[in-house]
């Protein structure tokens, strides 16, 4: 195992401050996966705070019965945007930040397969996020829930532009996600280092590949649903008009055929992160690597067969309900397999109790709790009581916050030294962890009881005297502390940038290729492309070839040049969306013009110039 800083290559591995240097224009035109990853990460964290603020307002309103802090209309906007923001603008881009920065390094590549397409994905996401949030300033934010059920979303029941912001925004984000996923599929299939067979790939790369397949298969379903809804709203079609024979359940089916795989899109990257961290901090290879890979594939596959468990209360009938109950329970099995493999990895390991491991262990514990309530909903009969109550809210937050966010924070503590070249304070990290763990549980555990006692979701207040007061107050207090705990993290990052110790190439003693590069890596990643002979190349005896990463004797490779066309193409799409939103056809045509200019410029610009 290579120690911090020292490597086989004499002359050491230099820190490359130039990786991030250059003015705003160099960032706007960058096609470097590392910079794009940083931009995704910063944007995602910003929107995580925005979504968090929306949550805190919800909790303030619910802190006491019959509260009048937030009126019903604003409340509907808040819970809608909280969900939409957290899913699409925080968790997915945060995962994308790691896909971008880490995967090319882990597979020993210099960048992704299509660097400009990568930049396009980022700019379209960023502009789409701004577009959707602009709704707050122009008539109000979407207010029909993050799942936008028909026909509440019809023009009859949702007049104005709110739902149009939602529909168009999600379509834009969908294009961004699909483009990104296509890029990562090709990258992982085709740009792996020599000797890196699929069964030698790092787990995080595996989960990225599986997530990318989920994205390209699931997103088209919601795209079609959104198109049907958009046509109903803009052109007067009858797809969700019951009087004309339309079926509102068609929306639900299309949405959840996307929506259930979507939760695995949210989860699998986090599972990948934890699968990287636990072996490194146990100083043992991952137990049952193949089982962890296959269970990831099985989760993805089964994830397409459970969607109607979100529809147990709509009247699909006993046969459908039974089938979906069964498939939903089945999916607990591969998830359990992973948990046992992590435990077996920790068992007998030489544990390094540092912040990334703390968050990984916290993830396992919280995710198990979330999984248990999930299995309870899997029973259609039990779910008839639980659905649309706070019991479900408790479940989703245990798996998405206690699960996914804890895992992504683990990833942040693990990989930020690689990204910035500096170490975060482990002491502050552990403080953040404990306060977050305790306050998270204080916020969400009482919600299980609130749900079982009958408190409904998505309702702006509750009557006094129903016995909901104490639990809601506890939850609200917990949420305030949870919000404050983020400040500890931000302070840690700020402190790190000014006073953090240089990280060196491999501060944690990791085994995968990203730890063989400088921190941060040079813009070309590897002077010589590495060759691997095992799953843990930096732990293996044959470190000969793979450590040549930064041999100064080899000339710097040429990298693709910057380009403005990805951003321009994204701008064209957003202009089209604005035209559609305001139903001004000339603006749509201007958007098409900008789009075509961007696409042709992109097609005719050579990759290196």
């Amino acid at each position: 195992m290579s120690a911090t800083g020292a490597t086989a290559a004499e002359g050491g591995i230099q820190s490359h401050e130039s990786t991030y240097s250059g003015g705003p224009w160099s960032w706007i035109t960058t096609v470097d996966h590392k910079r794009i990853g940083v931009m995704y990460g910063l944007s995602a964290f910003f929107f995580f705070l925005v979504g968090g603020l929306e949550a805190l307002l919800i909790r303030l309103q619910l802190g006491s019965p019959e509260n009048t802090l937030i009126d019903p209309d604003m409340y509907n906007q808040l819970f809608t945007m909280h969900g939409t923001t957290m899913v699409f603008l925080a968790i997915m881009p945060l995962s994308a930040a790691f896909f971008n920065f880490i995967v090319p390094l882990q597979i020993g590549a210099r960048d992704v397969a299509f660097p400009r397409l990568n930049a396009f994905s980022f700019w379209l996401f960023f502009l789409g996020a701004l577009f959707m949030n602009a709704s707050f300033l122009f008539g109000g934010a979407p207010d029909a829930g993050w799942f936008g059920y028909a026909n509440l979303t019809s023009t009859q029941y949702s007049p104005g532009m709110r739902i149009d912001f939602w529909v168009l925004g999600l379509m834009v984000l969908g294009v961004s996600s699909i483009a990104g996923a296509l890029n990562f599929i090709v990258t992982i299939i085709n740009l792996r280092a020599e000797g890196m067979t699929f069964m030698r790939m790092p787990l995080f790369t595996w989960m990225t590949l599986i997530t990318a397949f989920l994205l390209v298969i699931a997103f088209p379903a919601i795209t079609v649903g959104l198109v049907l809804l958009m046509f109903d709203r803009m052109f007067g079609t009858l797809f969700f008009d019951p009087l004309a024979g339309g079926d509102v359940l068609l929306w639900q089916h299309l949405f959840w055929i996307f929506g259930h795989p979507e939760v695995y899109i949210l989860l699998l990257p986090g599972l990948g992160v934890v699968s990287e961290i636990i072996p490194v901090f146990s100083r043992k290879p991952l137990f049952g690597y193949a089982f962890v890979v296959y269970s990831g594939i099985l989760i993805a596959f089964l994830g397409f067969g459970v969607w109607a468990h979100h529809m147990f209360a709509v009247g699909l009938g006993p046969v459908a309900n039974t089938v979906f109950s069964a498939t939903t329970m089945l999916i607990a099995i591969p998830t359990g397999v992973k948990i046992f493999n992590w435990i077996a990895t920790l068992w007998g390991g030489s544990l390094r109790m540092q912040t990334p491991l703390y968050f990984s262990l916290g993830f396992i514990a919280m995710f198990i709790i979330g999984g248990l309530s999930g299995v309870m909903h899997a029973s259609a009969a039990a779910d008839l009581q639980q659905t649309d109550t706070y019991f479900i809210v408790a479940h989703i937050h245990y798996v998405l916050f206690g699960g996914v966010m804890f895992a992504l924070f683990a990833g942040m503590y693990y990989w930020i030294p690689k990204i910035t070249g500096r170490m975060l304070s482990d002491r502050l990290g552990k403080l953040h962890f404990w306060i977050m763990l305790v306050s998270f549980n204080l916020t969400f555990f009482p919600q299980h009881f609130l749900g079982l006692h009958g408190m409904p979701r998505r309702t702006f207040t509750y009557e006094s005297g129903l016995g909901f007061e104490a639990m809601n107050l506890m939850s609200t207090v917990g949420s305030m502390v949870l919000g404050a705990s983020m400040l500890i993290f931000l302070w840690n990052v700020f402190w790190m940038l000014r006073k953090g110790e240089p990280a060196g190439a491999n501060p944690w003693g990791g085994s995968t290729l990203e730890w063989s590069t400088a921190s941060p890596p040079a813009h070309y990643n590897f002077r010589v492309l590495p060759r691997v002979h095992s799953r843990d190349p930096l732990w293996a005896e044959d470190t000969g070839d793979s450590m040549l990463g930064d041999d100064p004797g080899v000339p710097e490779p040429h990298m693709p040049g910057p380009s403005i066309y990805p951003l321009l193409t994204a701008v064209g799409i957003i202009v089209m969306a604005v035209g559609a939103l305001t139903t001004t056809l000339p603006v749509v045509f201007v958007g098409v013009g900008v789009l075509l200019f961007g696409v042709y410029g992109w097609a005719f610009q050579p990759l290196e110039h």
Binding site: I185, P220, T223, T237, G245, P560
Partner: protein, 189 residues
């Protein structure tokens, strides 16, 4: 940047195939919507009133022939015969435009007979499904004409055979989708 390949295949080709896989889900969802709403329109006109199978058979044949043109175009470019490469590329685009012309004719006939997007579920699902397909054909036509003009200027050569191949993959996909649509919408009324 060296164009590394773990599989021996070109990255651009893998990208197009994966994109086509995603598009299968897109059309699959649209087709499902069409099938779920078949027979559910509350008012007419209904499919049996309007669908003109002989006419559509001709336009279908035209589109299928365009795929043949595409195959010939690729073969020509691969052997370095840019003269025939240009001709076949243009013919592919031309037949695509004839197909689109047929669609426009059929659509305006339907509107004339009282079927629009908003009339009933048949109108909505029919125009959305065939319209989405037509939009894909139009994108393909623009792509092919762009390749044709590049070739005219001597900027598309035998070295670019893979670019033509990838355009061909897209074009054949669009054709296969039409075969499915033709079968489900027109033949299985």
């Amino acid at each position: 940047m060296e164009m590394h390949s773990s599989t021996g295949l070109s990255s651009r080709k893998i990208l197009m195939w994966t994109f086509i896989g995603s598009e299968c889900m897109l059309f699959g969802s649209l087709i499902t919507t069409y099938l779920v709403y078949r027979g559910k329109s509350v008012v007419g006109p209904y499919p049996e009133d309007l669908l003109n199978i002989p006419f559509i058979t001709v336009t279908t044949f035209v589109l299928l022939m365009s795929s043949l043109m595409m195959v010939l175009a690729l073969a020509a470019v691969q052997r370095g015969d840019m003269r025939w490469g240009k001709i076949w590329l243009f013919m592919t685009a031309l037949l695509g435009m004839v197909f689109l012309g047929g669609q426009v004719f059929e659509f305006s006939h339907f509107v004339h007979e009282g079927l629009t997007l908003k009339t009933n579920l048949f109108g909505g699902t029919f125009f959305l499904l065939t319209g989405t397909h037509g939009a894909h054909v139009a994108v393909g036509v623009i792509w092919l004409l762009s390749l044709f003009f590049l070739a005219q200027r001597g900027r598309l050569t035998q070295a670019n055979a893979e670019t033509v191949e990838i355009a061909g993959l897209y074009w054949h996909f669009v054709d296969v989708v039409w075969i499915v649509l033709f079968t489900l919408i027109y033949l299985l009324v």
